[in-house]
């Protein structure tokens, strides 16, 4: 390497490293938040009710963890934010699926009861 390039390279490396250092804390926090979001979604039953979204969230969270370990804080933060958005979507999908099926079940109950009532009244 010629000495002419050494100084700018060093400068660039310094700038990059300082940028990384300033991004480390928020990226770590982002990954932690996304991990919690994925766990919440799994607890809400997203594995069965929103498998695609939960899988996407898990994969992105793992990629973010890897990026964090590789000190690529920008990528880690981006992936963690995506994972968080995916996980929240998975959780709300699971919740809405459960609520919808519960509401449908009660409606079905009512329909059956009404039929029985009609039959009883006809007799």
């Amino acid at each position: 390497m010629s000495p002419r390039y050494t100084l700018p390279m060093l400068c660039a490396a310094a700038v990059l490293l300082s940028a990384c250092a300033s991004q480390k804390a928020p990226a770590t926090a982002d990954v932690a938040v996304s991990r919690a979001a994925v766990e919440n979604a799994a607890q809400a039953g997203a594995a069965e009710l929103a498998p695609a979204e939960l899988l996407a969230a898990r994969e992105k969270m793992q990629q973010a963890s890897r990026a964090l370990a590789d000190k690529d804080y920008k990528l880690a933060s981006d992936l963690a934010q995506q994972a968080q958005a995916d996980a929240k979507l998975a959780q709300s999908k699971a919740t809405s699926a459960k609520a919808t099926s519960a509401a449908n079940e009660v409606q079905e109950n009512i329909r059956v009861l009404r039929e029985e009532l009609d039959r009883a009244n006809k007799q």
């Binding site: 002419r4 981006d78 934010q81 995506q82 958005a85 995916d86 929240k88 979507l89 709300s92 999908k93 919740t95 809405s96 459960k98 609520a99 919808t100 519960a102 509401a103 009660v106 409606q107 109950n109 009512i110 009861l113 009404r114 029985e116 009532l117 009883a120 009244n121 007799q123």
Partner: protein, 208 residues
């Protein structure tokens, strides 16, 4: 010096041209915008998922701003993706809360229907009890009628038996033998004597 600057300038020019040719939107941003319009049109979202929708609005605004500032496609896509997922989340949250409200209403309705069913059941039971009572009374009446009929038949039988006894009937293996005595005519008469007529009359009654 001059020679080293040439590639730098060239790369700068390329970078700038890349910036100016950066599209103002990406497919992800377009998708997020159209999803946003759909969510805006959904009355359930404005009713049940205000906070989530505001989050989504902020996220989409950030993506729009990034596009307006001609930031890198990656950054716009990143923001647009997050916005898109937040919009979808708002839709799902609205669906869930709406379903929960409906569930409450349905549960109340179900209780009402159950009450109706129980009332109908009780009424049906009452009706069937009344019906059973009426049927029992009718049966008793029929039994009494039958009893009376039996009694009258017995009376008839007894009367018959008495009449037969009067005719001095005898039950034998060949059947009932009736001996008619004193069925006489007066001399030179074709008319039975009154005693004979009474005997024949009795026989006629029994045979009838």
């Amino acid at each position: 010096m001059k020679r080293t600057f040439t590639p730098v300038l060239l790369s700068l020019a390329i970078a700038l041209s890349a910036c100016s040719s950066t599209p103002l939107t990406t497919s992800t941003l377009d998708q997020a915008r159209s999803d946003y319009s759909a969510a805006q049109a959904n009355s359930a979202v404005s009713q049940y998922a205000v906070r989530e929708f505001n989050d989504a609005t902020a996220a989409l605004n950030a993506a729009n701003n990034a596009a307006g500032e001609r930031e890198s496609t990656e950054k716009i896509d990143q923001l647009a993706y997050v916005a898109k997922q937040k919009i979808a989340t708002a839709q799902e949250v609205a669906r869930a809360r709406k379903a929960e409200v409906e569930l409450k209403q349905s549960a109340q309705e179900r209780e009402q229907v159950r009450l109706q069913a129980r009332t109908a059941e009780a009424e049906a039971a009452k009706r069937s009890a009344e019906q059973a009572q009426a049927e029992a009374e009718a049966a008793r009446a029929r039994a009494e009628q039958a009893n009376a009929a039996t009694q009258s038949a017995q009376a008839q039988n007894q009367a018959l038996a008495a009449q037969l006894a009067e005719l001095q009937a005898k039950q034998t293996e060949r059947g009932t033998i009736i001996t008619l005595g004193d069925v006489l005519f007066n001399v030179d008469q074709a008319v039975l004597t009154s005693g004979g007529q009474a005997t024949v009359q009795k026989l006629a009654t029994v045979l009838r």
